[in-house]
């Protein structure tokens, strides 16, 4: 039993090491020309712009729900005035980065895994290479970078739509003006509430792009292999993202103890 667990742990670590090297190669290759700007922009559109509606709806809904929960708790202490700032801080620091990360890992991770997996099993990746195109740079580097660039933007967008959702929930109950609500929401927000969390989402983007590209790029076994690559992309990138979040939050608290604590 212990031997089996040990073997599983070793296999998981070996896999993580391979994926890590794959991701580091993507970062290294990103610094070497050609820069595939056109494909990067196409991926940014696919990964970023096309995820925006999902992020907007999710952010708006989360904002409404959080606002309702916050009100029921804060009302007991007569602290309803704090609802906007509590909501803004929770969204910026934790809720938006994590929820946006999980949503993107579902939508984009599955898409990348399936797309690259399909290209691998139908020899389209070989076809790219035969046309003297570096398939790793063209397919992997662009997707990893696009995820890293899009993730903080989508997270910020989610925070914003969340605050708007919170405002909508509040206006049903109180007659708080839009301006006052936003003043209160941002009054207690500081540099360290937004920037470290945004940097964290760059890491989330790196995880989603790397894991899903790795699984798709190395897919094998026909349609079944593509399906597995797609499913595993979502599962593995979500798990890694949640685990990385724990480490990154600890790091943020370590580097910014006064402000965060």
């Amino acid at each position: 039993m212990i031997e089996r667990i040990g073997a599983l742990v070793v296999a998981a670590l070996a896999w993580a090491g391979e994926v890590g090297l794959f991701g580091l190669r993507a970062l290294r290759e990103a610094l070497r020309p050609p820069f595939e700007a056109k494909e990067l922009l196409r991926q940014l559109y696919d990964i970023g712009s096309r995820s925006a509606p999902l992020i907007a709806v999710a952010g708006f809904s989360v904002g409404i729900v959080m606002s309702m929960h916050s009100r029921s708790s804060l009302e007991r202490f007569g602290a309803e005035a704090l609802i906007p700032s509590v909501l803004a801080l929770s969204l910026a620091r934790e809720i938006a980065p994590l929820v946006a990360g999980l949503l993107v890992s579902g939508r984009v991770g599955a898409g990348i895994g399936a797309e690259l997996g399909g290209m691998r099993v139908t020899e389209q990746i070989d076809a790219l290479e035969s046309l003297a195109v570096d398939s790793f740079k063209y397919l992997v580097v662009t997707r990893v970078l696009a995820c890293m660039i899009a993730q903080p933007i989508l997270t910020t967008f989610m925070s914003f739509t969340g605050i708007v959702g919170g405002f909508v929930a509040e206006t049903v109950i109180s007659d708080l003006s839009f301006r006052l609500y936003f003043d209160r929401a941002f009054s207690s927000m500081q540099f360290v509430d937004y920037v470290p969390a945004s940097l964290k989402t760059v890491v989330f983007g790196f995880i989603i792009g790397t894991v899903s590209s790795y699984l798709g790029y190395n897919a094998a076994g026909g349609a079944e292999g593509v399906g597995k690559a797609s499913t595993k992309s979502v599962v593995y990138s979500s798990i890694l993202l949640i685990l990385a979040n724990v480490v990154l939050v600890k790091m943020i608290i370590f580097f910014f103890p006064e402000e965060i604590g």
Binding site: G118, M119, T122, E123, Q124, D126, A127, L128, E129, S130, L131, A132, V133, D134
Partner: protein
């Protein structure tokens, strides 16, 4: 054939996948402007041989030369200039399914030439016309029949006017008439442009039509090498059986 006429040369090349040996000390030369057909049953390493020629796979052992350049000694980054001189028609065409047929053909031109957009589109149309697909420029690969996909793949492989064309199973999944059409396209290329053809097939009539030289692969080795007539007279039981089957002999 003297050594300096060889456009592709394999020297004692071996390739395995896991414990399965696919090629074992294979050596041969392919002369410039010739049509070289590799025959053999499924799973004998024919497609692997093609992929080794263009550097998509690396052998464990041996050396491969293309135009006197040892591609087995090149880093992946040094391969593109060699690959630009070669075209590859994949068994299932391997068209990029997110691009239209015309964009597939235009893709290598956009990547490797500085031509204006209008010229690139004209050239892509010209290549499609060459394979009889001039009206399919805007169609998506998924909307094409098997034969049309193969011809579109051929147009893409020819976009950069390669001096060497590698063709994997040109007749696979095609009816005899479409298969003969593809063969005549390949023969036109050879006669009009002096393109060196390397064709992997298990279709003996097709190999007879196209091939100047035929080789038969079996268990990781070339067990016969010569013209179709020479192979018809081979004493090797596998070669005799193979040449008699599928319309041969």
């Amino acid at each position: 054939m003297s050594a300096n006429e060889a456009v592709i040369r394999f020297e004692e090349v071996s390739k395995s996948f896991g414990s399965k040996r696919i090629l074992q000390d294979v050596s041969f030369d392919i002369a410039r402007g010739s049509a070289f057909c590799i025959l053999g049953r499924s799973g004998t390493g024919k497609s692997v041989t093609l992929k080794l020629m263009i550097g998509l796979l690396k052998p464990e052992q041996g050396r491969i030369f293309v135009e006197d350049q040892e591609i087995t000694a090149l880093h992946a980054r040094e391969l593109p200039p060699v690959r630009k001189t070669m075209g590859f028609l994949f068994q299932n065409a391997a068209l990029f399914d997110s691009l239209s047929v015309g964009e597939n053909v235009a893709f290598p031109l956009r990547r490797h030439t500085n031509k204006p957009e209008a010229d690139i589109k004209d050239r892509a149309r010209e290549k499609l016309a060459q394979v009889g697909l001039e009206h399919e420029y805007d169609m998506m690969p998924a909307d094409l029949s098997g034969g049309m996909r193969k011809r579109a793949g051929l147009a893409r492989a020819l976009a950069l006017n390669p001096s060497i064309l590698l063709v994997d199973e040109p007749s696979a999944g095609l009816d005899p008439m479409t298969s003969a059409e593809i063969d005549s396209l390949l023969l036109n290329l050879k006669s009009e442009r002096d393109t060196t053809l390397v064709v992997v097939t298990h279709n003996i009539p097709s190999a007879r039509r196209i091939g100047d030289e035929l080789v038969v692969m079996h268990e990781g080795h070339f067990i016969a090498h010569g013209t179709a007539k020479e192979l018809d007279q081979s004493d090797h039981p596998v070669v005799r059986e193979f040449m008699k089957s599928e319309g041969g002999g």
